[in-house]
Symmetry: C2
Subunit: 141 residues, 2 copies
DNA sequence: TTCCTTGCAAACGTTTTGCATCGGT
DNA sequence: ACCGATGCAAAACGTTTGCAAGGAA
């Protein structure tokens, strides 16, 4: 019985090869934010013949099940990552590096702002764009 | 000499009918967040025969010139608004209402977080999603 | 065996581009 | 008159859908 078999079952999803493979891929790249296309390329490289349409379908299902998270940063392409505890993102506009962070003050402040406008806060997107101080920064991407 | 003639000239853009009209439209809807398609529909309704491609081209130019702001919320469609002082957004997931707000503590906190990760902060996107307490909330959109 | 899932190809909606014509300056 | 701006149609892009074939329970 494979690792994510129970994960999928618990989510109410039948255990199929594509679902298992895609979940596995995202689990083994916990720090990456992969597009559907990149995921498809990884699978193809591993000699898995899984169609791009299936990748999209499976990603939608996994997201709905709460197993992965979909991100829409500034480009036109969505990216996906395995579900971790809540966090926000810091993106280097030069090298594309993405840092995940959590800040409790920020979360509290968002609640305060929502209350001020009489909103019941469901979720938020908070992405900081800047330039990182990495030496190899401009080389990447 | 029309209102936004100088605005366009100052931005280094030749004053043309489409540019003038589109800027005018956004200026007269300061609280709206319109998609290219909606803008095109408004123009068509006003008997302006401006192509959708031109709308896209002009919006890109106006954004580049800093005269308008492009937003990519959660849908697949971008929306545009005239440039105002910096602000973030609060969106009602039920009725689609968008509230603009500024919070200095938030801005300071973002700076602090960026510094912590050794980033030089350029910009940020911060959107809160929730449910507003409006009586007519569920009727709209 | 039963349905759900998959692969493929075709459709989709938004945005971009090529090209001939038009229009500011 | 010049060169950029426009309209139209077609292409491009990421994503979704229809359908017949395949696969897990």
């Amino acid at each position: 019985m494979k690792d994510n078999t129970n994960t999928l079952k618990d989510a109410g999803l039948k255990v199929t090869h594509p679902r298992s493979k895609i979940l596995e891929l995202l689990q083994s790249h916990p720090d990456d934010h992969l597009s559907a296309d990149e995921i498809h390329a990884y699978l193809t490289r591993d000699n898995e013949s899984i169609g791009l349409a299936t990748v999209y379908r499976v990603l939608t299902q996994l997201e709905l099940a709460g197993l992965i998270q979909k991100n829409q940063f500034s480009d036109n392409q969505s990216s996906y990552e395995i579900q971790k505890k809540h966090h926000d993102h810091l993106i280097c506009t030069k090298c594309g590096k993405i840092i995940e962070f959590v800040n409790d003050d920020l979360e509290k402040l968002q609640e305060k702002i929502s209350e001020k406008f009489q909103f019941r806060l469901d979720s938020h997107v908070m992405t900081l764009f800047g330039e990182c101080k990495d030496g190899n920064c401009s080389n990447k991407k």
